[in-house]
C-alpha cells in the first residue's frame, strides 16, 4: 500500500509537471505567434545545428500531449480501486479536469483550452457511438427496441418540452429576474438539456452491474436519444432563427416532418454503410492487415455523410455499428476482429477520458459563468423531476404490453440514471450568441446540470442500487447446467407455443431471421464464413486445443517448464502431429501450432466492454480456459431453438446455419424413438426411453476432473499411440471406443440413412448398454451400411480413424485408471467460488 502511494505521488508529480509544461508552452505559443513570421523570413546567417521549432509542431504536439495527459490521468485514477469503487471514474476525471483547468487558468489568466463543438462532434463523439453500436448486444437491443424507442423519442420530447415550458412559466412568474430569453429559446434550451448521455451512462452503469434489461433500456435510450436531441435542437434552432412571429402551422408541421426524416434518414444511412462495410470485408482476404481499418473509415464516413445530408449523424454511426457487427465478425480474419475490438475500445475509452477531462477544464473559465440562481436551480430541479415523471409514465404504459413488466425499482433506477453529459454541453456551445443573448448562462447551467448528474447521481447510484436491491446482473460465471437449461427453456417455449397454437411474439423475429439467413448472409458473408470448415473438425480442433493446454498446464503444474524451454520436445510434439495429420487437415495443424498464441490472447482478453461482456467469463487460469472450451462446445452444438438469437457476440466463432440438417437430424431421431417405443410397446418390452437406471452406468462414469488432472501423463501415451495406431489401431478398443465413427456418420448428406429402416436390434440390447452407447453402435452399423457413400468423402474413414486415437487413448486409459484408483480429490480451484 505504501509503495503504491509513493507511486501515485510520483505519477501525480509527473502529471502536474506535464501540465505545467503545457501551460507554459501554451503561453509561449501565444506570445511567440507574432514573432513567428519574421523569424522565418529573416535571412539566415549560418546553418543552425539545432533549432527550436515549436510553431512547426504546435498543434499536433498539443493534441498528443493532451491525449497523453488524459491517459495518464485515467491511469492514476484507475490505480486507486478503492476510490473508483465509490466515485465513478467519470466524476473523478471531471475533478481532475477542474484541477488542470485551475492550473491553466493560473498560468494564462484565461481558459486557453476548452472543448469546442467541432472537436467534440467531429473527433471525439463518433468513435464512442460507433463503439457502442458495434458492441451492442443485438438480441437484447432489438427485443427491447419498442421500449427503448418510446423512451428515446417520446421521453426526450417530453423532457425537452416540459423543461422548456416550465422554465418559461417560471420566467413569466418572475423567478428568474431580468433575463432575455423567450419561449422558443427556452424550448431550445430544453431540447439540448433533454438528452441522456451515453458516455456518462456507460461510465456509471459499467460499475454498477444492473440487470441486463435495465441496462439496455437506459443505454439504448441514451444512445438513440442523442440523435433525437440533436434533431430537436436543430428544429428549434431553426425556429429561433426564423423568429417567433413567422412560425405558423405549416412551419411546425415541417419541423415535425423533418424530425422524422432526419432521424430515419440517419438510421438508413447507417444501415447502408453497415451493408457496405460487410460487403467490403467480404473481399478483403488478401489485405487482411488493413481490413480492420475499413470499419473505422467507413464508420466515420457514414457519420460524415449523414452530417453532410443534415441527417442524424449519431443515429447513422450507431446503426452502422449495429448492422455490420455480425457480418464483419464472420467475414474478417479472427485476428482482425480482435484488432477491431481493441482499437475500438482504445478510441472510445480515449475520447471518453478526454471528454470528461475537458468537461472539467471548461468549467474553470470566468467568462462563461453568469450566475442566475433561479434559472440554474430550477433547471436542475426540473430536469430531475421531469425525468422521473416521464420515465414512470412511459414505463407504466409499456408495462401493459411487456411480457415481464419493469419493476418499480428498475423504474427508479431508470429515472435516476438520466445522466446528462457532453452532448448537452457540445450543443450548448453551438448556440449562436447573436440569436441567444444568454448563451453563457445556458452553457453554465448545462455544466451545472452535467456536474450534478454525473458527479452527484453517479456517486449515489451504486448505494442506491444496493439499497433498493435492484436485480443485478448475474455474476460472471455461467454454469454449464445453466447454459443447458437456457436452451431447454428456449425449446420449451417454442414447444408450448406450438401446442397452444399461437403465433408467438417472436413470429416477426422468426421471419426476419429466416430472411436474414437466407438473403443477407448469402449476400454479405463470404462463402467460407457461411460454411466454415466442418463442424466435426471444429470440435476435434477444440479438443486438441484443450489437450494441448492440459499438456502445458500439467507440465507447469509439476513445477517444470523444461519441456517448454526444451525446444526440441515441443517442436517434436508439433512436428509429429503435423506429420501425422498434415494430409488430412492442413489448416488445423497450422492452427495447432499457434494455438498457444491464440489461447494466451484469449486469456488476456478482458477488455472492459460496455455491455455484452458484463457477463462474460473471467478468463484466467486453466480451469477457466477449459471451461470455455466446454462452454464453447455446448454453445456450438446445442440445437438452436427457433427463436434462438445469440445476443452476445462471439468474437471468434460464428455458428453456421445448419438449420436444415439440424431439423432433419432431430426429426429423424424423434421418429426413431417414437418408432422404438411403438415397437417395444407392441412387443411388451419397456421402451428404452424409460430406462434411466443403468447397471453399467457407474462403470462408464468418468470422473470429470480425472481427465483434467491426469491428462498430462497420458499425453506421452498419446504420443505412443500415434506410432502404433495405424488404420486399424483403434478397432481393438473397448466398446466405448465405438464412438468415433459417429463423426463420420453425421457429416451432412453423407452417411445418414433413415434410421427407421435400420436393421432390427435386439430389443433387450439397450437394457445392457447405456443409450448413448447404444446410439453409437447404431451409428457404427450405419457406417458399415454406407461404406460406399463414404468413399466419395473428401476425407476417407481411414484418415479419420487415425485422428481418433488421441482421444480414445485418453479415454480408455482413463477408464482403466478408474478401475484401480480412488476417485480423485475435488479440484482445488472449484471450491473457491
Amino acid at each position: 500500500m505504501k509503495r503504491c502511494g509513493s507511486v501515485h505521488l510520483w505519477l501525480w508529480r509527473s502529471v502536474v509537471l506535464i501540465c505545467l509544461v503545457l501551460g507554459v508552452s501554451a503561453v509561449n505559443g501565444e506570445s511567440k505567434s507574432d514573432t513567428h513570421h519574421h523569424g522565418n523570413g529573416s535571412s539566415i546567417t549560418g546553418i543552425p545545428i539545432v533549432s527550436f521549432k515549436w510553431h512547426h509542431v504546435e498543434t499536433p504536439y498539443l493534441i498528443v500531449l493532451w491525449i497523453l495527459v488524459a491517459g495518464v490521468a485515467k491511469m492514476v485514477i484507475e490505480a486507486n480501486h478503492h476510490v473508483t469503487s465509490v466515485i465513478p471514474e467519470s466524476a473523478l476525471l471531471i475533478c481532475v479536469g477542474f484541477l488542470f483547468g485551475g492550473i491553466i487558468w493560473g498560468a494564462d489568466q484565461k481558459q486557453t483550452f476548452s472543448l469546442t463543438p467541432t472537436v467534440f462532434f467531429f473527433y471525439l463523439l463518433p468513435q464512442i457511438i460507433l463503439d457502442a453500436g458495434y458492441f451492442m448486444p443485438n438480441k437484447l437491443f432489438f427485443s427491447n427496441l419498442g421500449g427503448i424507442l418510446i423512451h428515446a423519442v417520446i421521453g426526450t420530447c417530453w423532457n425537452a418540452a416540459s423543461v422548456g415550458l416550465s422554465l418559461w412559466g417560471c420566467h413569466q412568474g418572475g423567478a428568474m429576474g431580468d433575463i432575455d430569453i423567450g419561449l422558443l429559446q427556452y424550448l431550445l434550451f430544453g431540447s439540448l438539456i433533454a438528452a441522456v448521455d451515453p458516455v456518462a451512462v456507460i461510465a456509471v452503469f459499467e460499475e454498477v452491474h444492473v440487470n441486463e434489461v435495465l441496462f439496455i433500456m437506459v443505454f439504448g435510450e441514451s444512445l438513440l436519444n442523442d440523435g433525437v436531441t440533436v434533431v430537436l435542437f436543430n428544429v428549434f434552432d431553426a425556429f429561433v432563427s426564423l423568429g417567433g412571429e413567422k412560425i405558423n402551422a405549416v412551419e411546425i408541421i415541417k419541423g415535425i416532418i423533418s424530425f422524422f426524416v432526419v432521424a430515419f434518414g440517419g438510421s438508413l444511412v447507417g444501415f447502408v454503410f453497415g451493408l457496405l462495410i460487410s460487403l467490403l470485408t467480404r473481399c478483403t482476404k488478401n489485405i487482411q492487415i488493413i481490413e480492420a481499418g475499413f470499419i473505422f473509415v467507413l464508420g466515420y464516413l457514414s457519420y460524415l455523410t449523414a452530417e453532410m445530408l443534415s441527417l442524424s449523424a449519431i443515429l447513422s454511426i450507431a446503426f452502422c455499428g449495429i448492422c455490420c457487427q455480425k457480418y464483419i465478425n464472420a467475414n474478417m480474419d479472427e485476428k482482425s476482429v480482435i484488432t477491431v475490438k481493441y482499437v475500438m475500445k482504445v478510441f472510445a475509452n480515449g475520447s471518453e477520458t478526454i471528454i470528461f477531462l475537458f468537461l472539467g477544464i471548461s468549467a474553470i473559465d470566468k467568462t462563461i459563468w453568469v450566475w442566475n440562481t433561479g434559472f440554474i436551480l430550477l433547471t436542475v430541479f426540473f430536469v430531475f423531476v421531469y425525468r422521473c415523471i416521464g420515465v414512470f409514465f412511459l414505463t407504466w404504459i409499456q408495462n401493459k404490453f411487456r411480457l415481464v413488466p419493469l419493476e418499480v425499482m428498475d423504474r427508479i433506477i431508470m429515472s435516476y440514471g438520466g445522466l446528462r453529459g457532453a452532448v448537452a454541453y457540445g450543443l450548448a456551445m453551438m448556440l449562436d450568441e447573436n440569436k441567444i443573448k444568454e448563451k453563457n448562462l445556458m452553457i453554465g447551467t448545462t455544466l451545472i446540470v452535467v456536474y450534478f448528474t454525473v458527479i452527484l447521481q453517479g456517486i449515489t447510484m451504486k448505494p442506491l442500487v444496493t439499497w433498493l436491491k435492484v436485480k443485478r446482473a448475474s455474476a460472471n460465471e455461467i454454469t454449464l447446467i445453466e447454459k443447458v437449461q437456457n436452451k431447454v427453456f428456449d425449446h420449451m417455449l417454442v414447444a408450448i407455443e406450438d401446442i397452444s397454437g399461437q403465433i408467438g411474439h417472436n413470429y416477426m423475429r422468426d421471419k426476419w431471421k429466416h430472411f436474414e439467413e437466407k438473403w443477407m448472409s448469402w449476400f454479405l458473408m463470404k462463402p467460407s464464413a457461411r460454411k466454415k470448415h466442418d463442424l466435426v473438425f471444429d470440435v476435434f480442433h477444440q479438443l486438441n486445443l484443450k489437450d494441448a493446454m492440459n499438456y502445458v498446464a500439467e507440465g507447469e503444474r509439476r513445477g517444470s517448464l523444461e519441456f517448454i524451454r526444451n525446444e526440441t520436445a515441443f517442436i517434436d510434439f508439433k512436428k509429429k502431429f503435423a506429420d501425422e495429420y498434415s494430409e488430412a487437415m492442413p489448416d488445423i495443424t497450422v492452427d495447432m501450432s499457434d494455438s498457444y498464441a491464440a489461447h494466451s490472447s484469449m486469456r488476456r482478453d478482458t477488455v472492459p466492454s460496455i455491455s455484452l461482456e458484463l457477463h462474460d467469463q473471467n478468463t484466467n487460469g486453466l480451469r477457466e480456459t477449459e471451461d470455455i472450451n466446454t462452454h464453447h462446445l455446448l454453445q456450438q452444438h446445442l440445437y438452436k431453438g427457433r427463436k434462438q438469437h445469440r445476443h452476445k457476440y462471439s468474437r471468434s466463432h460464428f455458428t453456421v446455419n445448419q438449420d436444415e440438417n439440424e431439423v432433419q437430424e432431430i426429426f429423424q431421431r424423434t421418429m426413431r424413438t417414437r418408432l422404438e417405443s411403438f415397437k417395444s410397446t407392441k412387443m411388451g418390452v419397456a421402451p428404452p426411453k424409460t430406462i434411466t437406471k443403468h447397471p453399467k452406468k457407474d462403470q462408464q462414469q468418468k470422473m470429470p476432473n480425472g481427465k483434467s488432472t491426469d491428462n498430462g501423463k497420458y499425453c506421452h501415451c498419446d504420443d505412443d499411440d500415434f506410432e502404433f495406431s495405424g488404420d486399424d489401431g483403434a478397432s481393438g478398443y473397448d466398446p466405448s471406443a465405438g464412438s468415433f465413427p459417429m463423426r463420420v456418420t453425421y457429416r451432412p448428406g453423407a452417411g445418414i440413412e433413415n434410421p427407421v429402416f435400420m436393421p432390427d436390434l435386439d430389443p433387450m440390447a439397450p437394457m445392457q448398454i447405456p443409450p448413448w452407447l447404444a446410439e453409437a453402435e447404431l451409428d457404427s452399423s450405419t457406417v458399415a451400411l454406407s461404406q460406399r457413400a463414404q468413399t466419395g468423402l473428401p476425407w476417407t474413414p481411414s484418415n479419420l480413424q487415425r485422428l481418433a486415437p488421441l482421444r480414445i487413448s485418453t479415454r480408455s486409459t482413463d477408464s482403466f485408471m478408474m478401475a484401480d484408483t480412488p476417485p480423485p480429490p475435488p479440484p482445488p480451484a472449484k471450491d473457491t467460488k
Binding site: L403, F489, M492, K693
Partner: protein, 194 residues
Amino acid sequence: MGSSSSRLDRVPGAKDLMEETGFSETNILCLYDRFEVLDREERGYLRLEDFEAIQQLAVNPIGDRIIGAFVFPGRETLDFPSFVRVLAHFRPTDTTWSRSGSQPEPANSRTRKLRFAFSLYDQDGDGKISRAELTEMLQAMLGMQVTDEQLQSIVGRAIQEADLDRDGAISFDEFKKSVEKVDIDHKMSTRFLR
C-alpha cells in the same frame, strides 16, 4: 362482455379454472379453441397421438419430453382442465408480488415453473437428475457432432457444478440453486398467456 361470458359457458368449469390458474376469459377461450382444434376426433380429451400430430413438435429436440409433461405415462388422456393447468406454468408472474401466504402457490410461481423444468429432466420421477438422465437430455439437445467423450465430460462437469452434496445427482434444490441467477420469469413465460 355478455357475448364472451355466454361463450364461456360452453367451456366446462371455466370459472373454477380461471380462479385456479389466474387466466383471463380471453385466455381460457383461446385455449379452449385450440384444445378443440387439437382434439380432432372431438372426444373431449387429448391423447398422445393428438400431440404427436403437431408437426413442429417433431423437430423440437425435447418435444417428446414436453408431451410427456402433458400426458404423463400411465394416464393416456388429457382433459381440458389439465391442459390448462399445465399451460398455467407459462403464465407470466403477476406484477403484484406480495401474495398472501395462505393460498396455495400458483402454478406460475418461480418454484412451480422450475419444478416443471426439472420434471423434464427427471424422467423417472425420483426427484433427482441422475447422470444418465442428464446425459439423455443433453444428447437430445446436442448436435450429433459432439462425441461421447465430450458428452460425458460435459455431463460430468455439469453435474459437478451443480451437485452440492456430492451424491452424483442433482436434486431439485440443487437444480434450483444452479439456475438461481436465471431470470425464470423471462425464460418461462409466454406473452399471450398474460
